[in-house]
Point group: D2
Chain length 357, copies 4
């Protein structure tokens, strides 16, 4: 198991959901970067549960505590270590999970892989709570990127049958992204937002959960980051995006729609704009031959519905090796998509920063 990411920025994430603390070490940050902690807290709060009925009512404080690598809010160049204490955890709620794995959770493969030694309380190291340090790292990365004129932002593109407007791929502005990345339930269209909340509430009332998609964009990336073959922008970003729990698909530009497109429809012609080369359209999502082409990077991820539902489910008892009906107790998000928006932004920011360093 390796909870490490990056070539130039090395991010190591540790901790278990119900252990003492979770946290991360970010190695390779430039020195002399002034960090705005309030902006970091905004992203942490966007990910934190308990804000409304669409998320789990557990209260997490999730205050990031910087241990090293920063003096007077300025990076020193030494590894930045950060801790978030775990509080308000009720391990008892999870006590029957050891023997009966929750369907579509990590429980069963983790049991096999770690021989029953892994911490199962609250999902342990597999808990989606481990995305909090990623959001922290992403918030740091965003600030460094911002100084380079690069902006990352995302919105909920779909929840269940409800769809938001999509980005106008070739005309995304950094202001639009900044606005999206400063609010808790980011949508382009505010009507869509209410419909999405309704969709989630319906799932909740049904003791069920619901999936969705998130669209993310990056503006200001210079031409030529990434490379072909094994170092494509898509390889780097997908690698960290698939590290986010529940993400099951990653698409750049037109994604799966390319399958039914002709070259003449999919190609992004070039034009001269303000004396520079620019694309007329941005079907490719800002990446050609694995490299950024100057257009905004645009990608979409699909998140599966959280497997923690309160409906009875069929599972097996790993002790008796008999089938058993499982009812998951505790309170769980009926939809993780809204809280996942800052996580996706964070993953993209860390990936882009690693490519740009």
């Amino acid at each position: 198991m390796s909870s490490n990411f990056g070539d130039k920025i090395k991010l190591s994430i540790f901790g278990e959901s119900h252990g003492e603390a979770i946290g991360c070490v970010i190695d390779g940050l430039p020195s002399g970067i002034k960090l705005d902690l309030d902006k970091i807290y905004v992203d942490m709060a966007r990910r934190a549960p308990g804000r409304d009925k669409s998320s789990t009512p557990r209260l997490e404080k999730d205050i990031p505590h910087i241990i090293s690598g920063v003096i007077d809010n300025v990076t020193t160049g030494a590894p930045l270590a950060m801790l978030i204490e775990n509080t308000n955890t009720k391990s008892g709620d999870y006590s029957n999970l050891m023997t009966v794995p929750r369907p579509s959770h990590s429980d069963y493969p983790a049991f096999v892989k770690y021989g029953g030694n892994n911490d199962i309380r609250g999902g342990g190291h597999f808990s989606a709570r481990l995305t909090a340090p990623l959001v922290f790292a992403g918030a740091v990365a965003k600030q460094i990127l911002e100084q380079k004129g690069v902006t990352v932002g995302a919105h909920i593109a779909q929840i269940g049958s409800v769809q938001d407007e999509m980005f106008d791929k070739n005309n995304i502005t950094s202001d639009e992204l900044k606005k999206l990345s400063s609010v808790p339930f980011s949508t382009i269209n505010s009507d869509a937002q209410q419909k999405m909340r309704d969709e989630i509430e319906k799932a909740r009332l049904d003791c069920d959960s619901i999936g969705g998609t998130i669209e993310c964009a990056v503006t200001g990336v210079p031409v030529g980051i990434g490379a072909n073959i094994f170092s494509t922008v898509e390889s780097k970003l997908s690698s960290i995006l698939f590290s986010v729990p529940a993400v099951k698909a990653v698409a750049f530009g037109e994604g799966f729609l390319f399958a039914n497109m002709r070259g003449s429809e999919a190609n992004d012609a070039y034009k001269i704009k303000d004396g520079s080369v620019a694309t007329v359209t941005n079907h490719n999502g800002g990446v050609l031959g694995g490299m950024s082409d100057g257009a905004p990077i645009v990608l979409q991820v699909a998140l599966k519905p959280t497997p923690s539902i309160s409906k009875p489910q069929q599972s097996v008892n790993l002790q008796t090796m008999k089938e058993e009906t499982l009812v998951i107790k505790g309170r769980h998000d009926p939809c993780v998509v809204p809280r996942a928006v800052p996580v996706i932004e964070a993953a993209v920011a860390v990936g882009i920063l690693d490519l740009m360093m």
Copy 2:
């Protein structure tokens, strides 16, 4: 630029389309593996162009020449180096590409990134021809995997508006995969195959190209390979899949369909089968919490239509910085999807082997 992949198996790919040769080094292979060269040639031939009207009429011999790491067809444990000589190349066909980048090709970002020093003949190091060494490495990986009971196979799932049958995700057999991975234009349904050929021919007659999707599966993977956070099976596989030119989306299990699914529909319940734990369905594509769960690994990739079309296109002249109409000469695949099937299998095989070593 780094053309290196892998943690335990280190694959380094080199060469330019119209240079002297292309090739690869595979480091970290176990010693004592008997290689069946004929099987390797089969995969190389499946990728090679010129088999029928659906692909480019250029003749490539693509005979892999092993330089080191193998004696009497048995791996020695030392790095396996392989060369494929380049023959039958007409550099003159590409002579106007330096100043006028082909839309949606790597030309423009590569020009910026490498300051005009990169080899542009035939795409240089960015040519899809560089997938030949990947197919070689994949063919080697497949044979090592086969000895561990792991089989990789893929088929064309869609070309344009034509769709093949999809895998029955929870009931894929290694025989089915072996059959698919031994033929040049792999489809599950033979009617679909003819319709796809027609679709490609239509694009060709229109001086255009067409995209598609490929579905790939892996059987026999033991429970528990991969890990969560930054070492998920999805991260590893997507990272190498996005290295394949034209791939713009990667989806596991239900992929983007998860967005409109409820947890109760998406969860894969457990049952006891032959005394072991098994999933009742396989919506998750064999990966839970980043780890293999014992069900077949099932994924889908989308490939954009090749940007090399003979229709006139708008571009810019990088010398004069004026807009210009470009007509790409030379003969090009109207659809790269059929030839990409063994490339996708190869990428998956190398990724899975790296995870299993």
Copy 3:
């Protein structure tokens, strides 16, 4: 700056001497390993200052606090994060170091590299105090190695003009190593120990410091770990040994004595011993062609005298760019060699474990 080591075991060290805490993350540990915390404390105590006049009188408690990756003293397989709180630090003692770099310390190159942003209190991230997390990681590694029959131990081979007996390279026992690695001032010959203490005391009374060497051995390593070219046992071990502050030379087997040896003297003939192949001598220190050969691994490191001396020294004022005489205040070890013994053992243990995983 990357404070990361290892391919299979990934060790990340963070913290500054006078910051809130120092610590490490160890990723890739096997699950199910029962840790004996008392043994870890023994190594931590061997490194800790203040035990006698040979070391700095500052009191460090250095109690390692495990944050994650361990439940009931058993590893879970998730990253093991550990913190050591910093206490009893007097930053005032170091207040003039910013402008006048201490000769032969990291002060000057760090000032240039980090643009004055690095934490200079007590050496910051460059402090030898950062070896405490390495000792912790080494103590964990030793316990895993012990379960594989591998033992690491070291002794002070030389301080100033005083030399200890050297290992009988081909006949080192694990008991001998265990004994050495359980005491604070490890020497083979007890007379040498007293003379060394005297040598250190002389340096201290002279307001000076003194260097030395440490010899380290590993028994029980199976034949064939490591590899040639870039993965030699010597490469891996030297890489981590040169991470230990003050280490300026690393030698395997006869080391620099090989320069005046004939092949007929230096070669280790083979014999049959208890039905197995064994070397008659062990001039090569257990490594041939980069691989372990079954004999004990034997190496020696040289440590320079600590540059922190209280004698006046010539330096420059980085503000005025004028030469200035510097007098370093505070109390410092006149000799770091005794405390470095567990650090060297730790570095070797982590390196060997990474090779053996």
Copy 4:
């Protein structure tokens, strides 16, 4: 086994001594670097055998053949692949080595590690011949470094009992290094050279071999490359230096002499020189706290006498598991030190370039 080195420059070496060819791939080179092939050939020739009685009379042509990554002698930014054909090999000379391992060679551990599948002809992948691609890579690295004002050069410091003058560590000039790195048997003092040749000839007449040391220096390195903990200049350089066959010790600055030095003797005071900070002495070999300090980087390596001697030696028969007397046939260098000088320069150049990219 991993024959890969580097973080930013990735060097992969492949081939077996008596296989078809040996070679390397260098990935990550900047584009647009004009290579002077003649200078590369000079270094290749310095390493090649057969120049005089001090080395093996086998004729190797060792002409590097560049396959990719270079057009018109200018790097393209794509991986540079290079091949050297193997010629003039007499495999028969080595036919008894499979069953009776040569003492102090890689034969025995390689036999165990690779289960008898490794290529044993001429040492296979373990042959010192594999240093030819390293010399090539080093020659490329030197040219890139030269453009940054960095020069690498080395000389034979000792062979047997004969010693050369040593570098005046704080006053090394790039001219001095260039002169040393352009001749085949590099010594500072020409008298020492003749005595060394005599020492080698004596060993040869005795059917024996002799060891030695090489001192290497680098001028022009900017302050602040490398970092502390796991990224020290010493870690990086020692890691690649210990990849060179026969190297058994690496020392920076005063090396093992530090053991008997006081801090007041070992510290390098600072002065102002031409308006900049400079060290008064250079005992630390240009590295402080793992970082370059602006003084020349100075290091020394010890090479053991080559284990291939024609004197009868005791070994064991791995088939019968009985002791046996071995007489190694074929012609071998009585001293590899002179030919190793360009190899050491190459290793250092590649290491420094990787740190500086």
